[in-house]
Amino acid sequence: MLNLPFRRVLTLDLRSRKFGFVVFEGPHTLLDWGIRTHADEKRSLLERRLNNLQSMFAPSIILVRKAVERDRISQPMIRLAIHNLKAFAKRTLITVLLIDESSLHGFFSKEAKINKHDIARMVADRFPELSWRLPPKRKPWQSEPARQSIFDAASLGLFYFAKHVETPQDLKPAPS
């Protein structure tokens, strides 16, 4: 198991027009988090956003959550964003790893069936600085709040560090 202090990891929850991001330094420290838009007529916006994050935090790896977008409009936009992201990573020599929703979900729901809100709650319990942004549990007819994207990105970090540093027992959901 690795236990090195300066592993900066940028995790992205890439959507068609925006992305949620979290920057980790090791498994216990969040350096920054937020939501940025990346869709405009110029394709370079995503690159500019990533450049800012890269120059500020110099991550060693970028983890990307591949969101499931089922409609025909957003699917090509995400594909384009991933393409641009990979091109950026190649230029800056950063490793990019795409993680699909099913692996992530499979990891978190090893013992009990849980949903995105439960995972977000787990993230908020672990990082109290994010707890004020935890969205309320939504009804099936309500749309997902934008800030959910931060928690989706943070869950990637938990997944990654659990693979390298911790045991999954540390990531059990808190009792409701």
């Binding site: 350096l31 988090w33 110099a58």
Partner: protein
């Protein structure tokens, strides 16, 4: 489940951790700027992005606000300064060792060398 590669470990500190501390505190750039008696948020933003270095009074103010030592708030900067100073001290010591002196000059030289030696031992301890 995908095989996750372990990345190259980035051993360098960030230049500063102001943004991290500010975000943890839930402060906006403007609020922090106001606490530091700046007219707007631009100066704080420049400090966070290491575009400019804060003056000593502002650096101390950051320490007071976040209750974190300046060296921990600006570890990258500290690292750079330390490296430069250690190199200069090393050169200085070499120069001293080549000097010759008599009487009080010799005593002064010995005192400087003893201080350098003591300093090195403290650092190594």
């Amino acid at each position: 489940m995908p095989q996750i590669p372990s990345p190259e470990v980035n051993q360098r500190h960030l230049d500063n951790y102001l943004r991290t501390h500010r975000r943890k505190a839930g402060l906006s750039l403007r609020e922090l700027g106001m606490l530091l008696a700046y007219a707007d948020e631009c100066a704080v933003s420049r400090h966070e992005r290491s575009k400019t270095q804060p003056p000593i009074l502002i650096a101390i103010a950051y320490e007071v606000i976040f209750r974190t030592p300046v060296a921990a708030l600006f570890p990258g900067m500290r690292e750079t300064v330390e490296l430069t100073i250690e190199q200069r001290l090393h050169r200085f010591e070499e120069e001293l060792r080549q000097r010759n002196g008599k009487g009080s000059r010799a005593l002064q030289l010995a005192q400087k060398l003893a201080w350098l030696n003591e300093r090195r031992n403290i650092k190594g301890a």
